[in-house]
Structures are given as C-alpha cells and as structure tokens.
Amino acid sequence: MDEKHFEELWEQEERQGLQRRLQQEYPAWQQRRRVRRTALASVAMVLVAGITLSTFHFPLSTRNYDSVACNRNGIAEGHWAAEASRILTIETL
C-alpha cells in the first residue's frame, strides 16, 4: 500500500464511520430521511407517468380530436369536431 492509497482508504473510512455514527445516534432523523426520499420518489413516478401519458397521447378524455383552431372567438372546440362528424354523415345519406 502506498501513501496515496492509504489516504483514500482513510477518507473513505472517515465518511463511512461518520454515517454509522449518525445512524446510531440519530435514528429518528434517519427515518425522516427515508420518508422524504420515498415521498420524492413517489412524486417522480407521478411525473414520469404524466410525461408518458402526454407524450404518447393516451386518451385522457373521450374527445375525438387532438386540437382545434378557429378564426372566431367564442365557439366551443367540440362544436367543430361535431361538425366534421356530422358532415361526413350528411354526405352518405
């Protein structure tokens, strides 16, 4: 073992030793840390699920279109999708 290797091991042991001491002397804080980490992990999972749903456009609602644009204000989006559907039907009848 050379001096550099010894120093590395010493620092490592110092860090691990400190963690062990904290775990022994402050178990409640360790518990709080675990709870916080679990909560953060849950939030992250919800975010990932949200991203996945948005990205792949899973149907979150029953609407039959992606987006609507109109040059006049005040007309409901659904009206135009309904019109697109209705006109298709008129043609055949």
């Binding site: 949200g50 987006s67 109109c70 040059n71 135009w80 559907s85 039907t89 043609e91 055949t92």
Partner: protein, 138 residues
C-alpha cells in the same frame, strides 16, 4: 432526487404544451372576414387512424356564392363532394391521388369541409366512419 425533479419538471411542461400548428389551408382562409374558418387536427376516424379537417362556413349568402364560385361548385342543393388537390383544393383530382382533400360542400349549412387523405387506409377509414355513424343512428 431534487436534481431528478429539476430535470423532470421542464420535460413535463414540454410534453404538456401542445404546439398548435395551423394548416396552410386554414391559414389561407382564416383572415377572411366573411367566413368562419376552423381546423380540427387529429380528427379520430377509427381506433388508430386520424386525419385533419378544415371547415369553411360562409357567414351570409353573398359569401356562400363567392365560396361556391371559388371552388367551382355548380349545384345549389344537397351535398357536393370531390377530391381536391392538396395545395389547390378547388382543382379536382383523381380518386387515387395522394395526398388530397376529400371536400364536401353542404349547401344548407353554407359549409365546405375538407378531410385530408394521405393514405388508402385513411380513405377507407373515412368511409367506415360514415357507415359506422349511420349504423349508430339507426
């Protein structure tokens, strides 16, 4: 973990912000004062197939007469339909041409609707949609 959240949050916002792109046909007619113009992107034709729709509604009879002249619609009642060129929908094209617009002019509503057809599957889905809607009505 906080770093992970910092990365995820912008991604989430990015995914949620649907970029609204206007179709050229919509852009062309939207400034018209005598027409109500709408586009429906991703109009669901079946379980997996979608298409884009542009609707032009004349606000009065004068605007309707102008629209009819623009699209060379010579009938005055019922529904007039044709396959239109994707860039110049007034120009009639053969049924097999892709991409194209399936245009339908409804005189009673002073409306012309354009359904984009890129594939044979979409054309078939348009027909299936018509049949399914009618079956549901019966």
């Amino acid at each position: 973990m906080k770093r992970l959240l910092l990365i995820l949050m912008p991604l989430m916002l990015l995914a949620c912000s649907h970029e609204e792109t206007e179709l050229p046909l919509y852009q062309r007619y939207a400034p018209r004062q005598d027409l109500t113009v709408a586009q429906v992107k991703g109009f669901q034709l079946g379980d997996t197939l979608k298409t884009d729709v542009v609707l032009l509604v004349a606000d009065d009879s004068a605007a309707w007469a102008e629209l009819k002249a623009e699209f060379d619609i010579r009938t005055s009642e019922g529904v007039t339909s044709w396959m239109g060129d994707i860039d110049e929908p007034a120009r009639r094209v053969k049924r097999a041409v892709r991409p194209a617009w399936r245009a339908m002019a409804v005189h009673a509503d002073r409306t012309v609707a354009f359904y984009r057809v890129d594939t044979e599957a979409q054309r078939q889905a348009l027909m299936d949609y018509q049949m399914k809607t009618i079956e549901n009505k019966q």
